[in-house]
Symmetry: C2
Subunit: 245 residues, 2 copies
Amino acid sequence: MPRKPQGPCQPVARRDPAATRQRILAAARSLFARQGFDGTGVRQIAHRAGVTRSLVHHHFGSKESLYLAVLERSEAEWAGRLREAVEPAIDSEEFVTEAVRAYHRFLGEHPDFVRMGEGLDLFLAGGADRRRLLAGRPRPEDRNERFLHDAPDRVIGRIAELQRQGRLRDDLDPALVLAAVWCLVEHWHEARDRLGLRLGRDLDGPGIDDRFLETALSILVEGLAPRTENRRPPGGNGGQGGADG
Amino acid sequence: MPRKPQGPCQPVARRDPAATRQRILAAARSLFARQGFDGTGVRQIAHRAGVTRSLVHHHFGSKESLYLAVLERSEAEWAGRLREAVEPAIDSEEFVTEAVRAYHRFLGEHPDFVRMGEGLDLFLAGGADRRRLLAGRPRPEDRNERFLHDAPDRVIGRIAELQRQGRLRDDLDPALVLAAVWCLVEHWHEARDRLGLRLGRDLDGPGIDDRFLETALSILVEGLAPRTENRRPPGGNGGQGGADG
DNA sequence: GCCACAATTGGCCGAACGGCCAACCATTGT
DNA sequence: ACAATGGTTGGCCGTTCGGCCAATTGTGGC
């Protein structure tokens, strides 16, 4: 490996601070995602990165700064991939199915993204100081980050647009529709293991992800389809529709 | 408070081991639910319970045993309340709406139950020893615990029954239908704050719980209603139903 | 060659953790 | 009245945590 002990243009030699930084970031991201902030020690991160704890502290200053750095890099990276996956679906004709499928596939391919969400909650639960730390983080004007920020409003607007066009039932709050879809897709990836435990069924079989997706998608498509007959809005105490006895 | 310094029948005096035990359990349950297993110290539990750490260790042996005791007591208590709330709905005519409403209300009234589920995951993530510890815990034959254990199968059976009766569409796997409902109801209570953060909307307003419930319920009822026209099963690549252009 | 600087190292600190132990003391059976 | 039991206490142990510092080493500019 130490082929070029002295190269000013390509410092691939024994000392490579940039690569070391990246290795620390990668190790930290993997461990933070799996074990959360409190459950991961700086020593553990350093060991996986092949460096000493002091070096971690040298590069990032503190454990919290390292966590924020991980969050920032991951967010930027994930935002790009999520944008590539989901953005084309927003303006699609088959908006609901394509968007749900894209988001579902994205979560399946990036489980760390899901776990980072939980880890962030635990991190923020540490107190107001951490919230302030996160709030003081400068928001880059990256296009991918903008997408991550604007996506909910765009999706909600698209739902409302489809409602006005009569292609989705218009008696539901678009924001709450999005919330429902979010719960369906995200909770599956977040708590599938727990779900299988409680159901007493094995939810790890091959294709189970796709089978759940198709089931949820089918319920969504049918549940959001515009009604031909008139129906009470669900604001009050709506009666049961299908299995009404 | 120390009214009876010497009472053999009612030891409400300064020494009341049973009451002390309950106080420790209550403190531990509250703190474990809010901060998880690793995030809660024995000293913190002891402080809240008004005793010393040694006394906690004396009564429960170890922190893990205390956690299991909390889990056991909480599970028994919650199983009873959940059974009272949900069991009547299973055999109800309006099965879907009543069951979802009951479970939704239960989760809203017992947020610790939700958080305990996450905490249990983190606890079990500690290693195989803890999993073995939990597996070796004797399962009491309490009627409430039996309900907690049997409920998923009963609900799945009920869904299948309604499918056979033609009151729910029969092209979906009942277990996956239950999984979808579970995701909808549980994730709302588990991640509502995170959801609001990402949506950039305030999801804490009064009645937001009920409004989401009615929206999700409406989607579910419509999405699970039997179709009059024939429809492709969702196994393949089903096209969008309502908004198909 | 030499020096300044950054990367990297091992070691040390105070604090908090969970667990353990000897002692104190209220209650109880005899 | 006495001893035994067990609830209760403060204190001590080893470990691990995150953070800090001095020293060493590799690297590039002069």
